[in-house]
Amino acid sequence: MDFLRPTTWEEALAAKAALPEAVPIQGGTDVMVEINFDVRRPVALLDLSAVAGLSGWEVAADGRLRVGAAVPYARIITELGDRLPGLAQASRTVGSPQIRNRASVGGNLGAASPAGDSHPPLLASEAVIEVESAARGVRMIPAAEFYLGVKRSALEPDELIRAFWASPASGPQYFSKVGTRNAMVIAVCSFAIALHPERRTAGTGVGSAAPTPRRATEAEEFLAAELDWSGASALDPALARRFGELAAGAASPIDDVRGTAEYRRHAVAVMARRTLGWAWDDYRERAAA
């Protein structure tokens, strides 16, 4: 096994181009588990932890946030919790403090597990993934087009994930996750919602209830059309229930050791209804203020 240790982004891209089978490693919280258990024996590890710039974030000229792929969840929570509240909530449910000190959104994207905690909020907030190769340069991939299958993404073998882009929240964002305890839990299923008051639309993300994380598009369209965006009225329970049904309809879950398909569909409906309730309460408070 080779251990490649680029110190610049250009070196990293060159190394990935020269050896596309090299497995990128940053926090190691997925990759090292596979190596420790001999599930995977890559020809090379491409250690990105010495690459300058990957673990920083900035506000771009257009006001969006550009967050380096290696920013650990612990820092997403403390440094970006106010601007990316949905992602920060999801980040708090990742593993344990030790894991959150190392694991990053870039790693979650690279692994592309349907159960990854960052995916639903990235989908709900319409994040865009910045990937790059030495040969073809930068590609900007909307989160909704990034996930292609179970642990398969739109990332090409010679590409690396550099950052994700997301607008600071303009409205309430919530995340909910079902698991057996609060810590160290892989999602049985999860759900994220983001209200975009300026456009009077809503974003959603369903996790661990289909081969890929995905948006519940019909549920989003339903909210855009049916919510009383003036904020004058409390949430109609029938509307919230219908939203839950539509969200569950977007799922295509399987039976596995963590839960049955039927349970997942039910839980997605409940989480969708609840997160909408929380978001709507916030929305009305802000509208009244």
Binding site: T29, N36, D47, P97, Q98, I99, N101, R102, N182
Partner: protein
């Protein structure tokens, strides 16, 4: 491969490390510091918790080469010349140690908590230790120990 790092304040050079091995393996088998424990090897149990550049991490999930040039502090580095760290004394006094296998990881993780948050609430202690499994104590004595250490630290600061 060769890995150079600082461990508990001492420069260490390790030769012949396999590229896929973990920092935990390097510490235990090559540097001769068996305090950090090897249990789950997947970041679930916290028994291998060490400081990497001042941040608590699971050493089993850090590739050896990723420690190059970095500063590692293990449970062996908590005690000073005058003996045990007050947190370690509190663990002994409170009965927070039974079989002892989880203790090194808990000590490093609790040490970080007390250093960052002078007077942690019970919720903060539970949250901080959520990634450290103990199968003996039922955790109550561990919580007692952390509370005791935090209270003494506060008294000393006065």
């Amino acid at each position: 491969m060769r890995v150079r790092m600082t461990v508990n304040g001492r420069p260490e050079t390790v030769d012949g490390a396999w590229e896929g091995e973990s920092l935990l393996y390097v510490l235990r088998e090559r540097v001769g510091l068996p305090g950090s424990k090897n249990a789950c090897e997947q970041g679930e149990c916290g028994s291998c918790t060490v400081y990497l550049d001042g941040v608590p991490v699971c050493a089993c999930l850090v590739a050896a080469g990723q420690a190059e040039g970095r500063d590692v502090r293990t449970v062996e580095g908590l005690a000073g010349d005058e003996g045990l760290h007050p947190l370690q004394e509190a663990f002994v006094e409170a009965g927070a140690v039974q079989c002892g296998f989880c203790t090194p990881g808990l000590l490093v993780q609790a040490h970080d908590l007390i250093e960052r948050v002078g007077e942690p609430s019970d919720a903060e202690i539970r949250e901080a230790l959520a990634g450290n499994l103990c199968r003996c104590t039922g955790y109550e004595k561990i919580l007692d120990a952390v509370r005791l250490a935090a209270a003494r630290r506060k008294d000393e600061a006065r």
